[in-house]
């Protein structure tokens, strides 16, 4: 469903991504593994329209979406759950979730979606009237994921879901991502730890210095300890 061809992007004069090509199929979980600072966040920002790629093409089901504004890309069905959560700190948990259903089609379905999200994250239901800034790190991550699920996503792009969390919470977060995958949602996940994604990823790319250096099924790549330690340390 998602096709990226020879994508290049960066900030100001400095190029971060050099000719990235990848694809995600319906219902597939694709993980891009790479150390910090090698372009994972930039890649997601370029796909979701927060930065405009300098070259290359992004297509969703054959339709070009390169250089569209973020709202048009959300409308096309790609939802980006950013790194560091980017919540609305002075809004309640409930209001944050409702913002995820901002687009009018999603807004009409907001009560159903809320019920789904609260089933997935009972913790958020308990805290629904609290301000987002008063949440713990794990709760913030759950809220960011929940907000992403409030929209009409066909592809969910999640940036480093484990970042800055305690090991126990990390486990919960990946369990939830498993559940999201079971609903048939296509996933594009950025990660730096191969252990997190074993059993979740269908296909894996290795990203180094803005280039995708390897591609393979999860079984091939994640089984190759020597390869992973060479790239991820």
């Amino acid at each position: 469903m998602l096709q990226v061809h020879d994508l290049q992007a960066g900030y100001g004069g400095s190029q971060v991504l050099h000719s990235i090509s990848l694809h995600v199929e319906d219902g597939e979980a694709v993980v891009i593994l790479g150390p910090n600072g090698h372009g994972k966040t930039t890649l997601l920002r370029a796909i979701s329209g927060l930065i405009h790629p300098t070259a290359g093409r992004v297509e969703l089901n054959g339709r070009a979406i390169t250089r569209l504004e973020p709202e048009a890309i959300v409308a096309a069905g790609i939802i980006h759950i950013p790194q560091g959560d980017l919540l609305f700190p002075e809004m309640t948990v409930m209001e944050n979730l409702l913002m995820g259903a901002y687009r009018s089609a999603a807004w009409r379905e907001r009560n159903n979606k809320l019920a789904q999200v609260f089933r997935l994250f009972p913790r958020l239901a308990e805290r629904k009237n609290q301000l987002a800034r008063s949440l713990s790190g794990g709760e913030r991550r759950m809220l960011a994921l929940g907000r992403g699920l409030m929209g009409e996503a066909r592809l969910l792009m999640i940036d480093e879901p484990s970042l800055g969390l305690a090991p126990l919470v990390i486990e919960q977060v990946y369990e939830t991502i498993h559940e999201i995958k079971r609903t048939g949602m296509a996933l594009l996940l950025m990660d730096e730890n191969a252990n997190h994604i074993t059993g979740l990823a269908d296909r894996v790319y290795l990203l180094e210095a803005g280039v995708l250096v390897r591609e393979g099924t999860a079984d091939e790549l994640l089984g190759d300890a020597a390869l992973l330690s060479a790239y991820l340390g």
Binding site: L50, H80, P82, L86, E90, M99, R133
Partner: protein
């Protein structure tokens, strides 16, 4: 006792109207990070349109009210499209937007001077009647002004809490990237904010000029006071702004009643200097990113 009552009565009247003015300023600041120095001129647009429709065209009151507010919103919309949009995302936004809005205010005030002349206009009394509590004279017109202002303050807070677009306005002021990733079209949202803000200024203009006189310069002082209110309330905070509006309204009324009318403005500024020294982030003391 009567002085106290007079203070409370005037304070609530001022506070309600300053609340409308200041809410508009704070919404613009929160979303666009722009200090709209044409806000007082949008107040004028509302006031003059209402005066023209009621006093010259003799159209019904409700129609005048609606047209004046809609007219101010329209001027705000034109300002945003013609003046502000071309500056968005360009370097030097702080200065450029400030100068652009000063320019807009000069244009609008000069237009008012050209069309209506320098003479003071008086809005006809809409509701007759007044009554006395002790020696304090309370006019029905002022009560109507208070009621209308409070009604719109409540409607605005509900809009910002419940509706999809209201939530989006608060969202863009708290985290622009996150709001865009939720699908909020930034430019459309800015346009909506500008229209609402201009409508609120126009509304304040209609209401306050039905009590005081109207002249091409009379938008300036309400804007300065609204500025004091927004700074006091913590720029960008809606709850803080409404609390601050009534505090400043009451303070101004107290200064007028106990020290004399000429003390009102210097007193307010002195108060603001002290406030900014003690609580630089305003009444609610939120940090830079934590607003609205």
């Amino acid at each position: 006792m009567e002085q106290l009552f007079q203070t409370i009565y005037s304070g609530i009247l001022y506070g309600s109207v300053y609340g409308l003015m200041a809410l508009g300023l704070t919404l613009i600041w929160g979303s666009l990070r722009m200090l709209n120095l044409a806000h007082g001129s949008l107040y004028l647009v509302g006031g003059y349109l209402a005066w023209t429709i009621i006093d010259q065209l003799h159209l019904p009151l409700v129609l005048a009210f609606l047209l004046a507010v809609a007219g101010a919103a329209l001027v705000g919309l034109i300002m945003q499209v013609v003046l502000i949009n071309p500056l968005l995302g360009k370097p030097g936004w702080d200065n450029a937007s400030l100068i652009a809005t000063v320019g807009a205010s000069i244009v609008l005030e000069s237009a008012a001077l050209l069309i209506y002349g320098p003479q003071v206009k008086q809005m006809p009394t809409v509701v007759e009647g007044q009554f006395k509590i002790g020696t304090v004279l309370i006019s029905n017109q002022a009560l109507l002004v208070i009621a209308t202002a409070v009604l719109f303050l409540i409607l605005m807070s509900l809009f910002l809490r419940i509706s999809r677009h209201g939530l989006a306005i608060r969202a863009i002021s708290q985290d622009m990237d996150a709001a865009r990733l939720a699908g909020v079209p930034a430019r459309t949202a800015f346009l909506i904010v500008m229209c609402i803000s201009a409508a609120l200024a126009g509304l304040a203009g209609v209401l306050l000029s039905s009590i005081f006189y109207l002249a091409p310069t009379s938008g300036f002082v309400p804007m300065v006071k609204a500025l004091v209110v927004t700074i006091f309330g913590g720029l960008g905070s809606v709850k803080g702004t409404i609390w601050a509006a009534y505090t400043i309204g009451l303070l101004e009324a107290a200064l007028q009643v106990y020290l004399g009318a000429s003390w009102a403005l210097p007193g307010l500024f002195l108060f603001m200097i002290v406030m900014l020294t003690v609580r630089p982030n305003g009444l609610f003391g939120l940090g830079e990113a934590r607003r609205l």
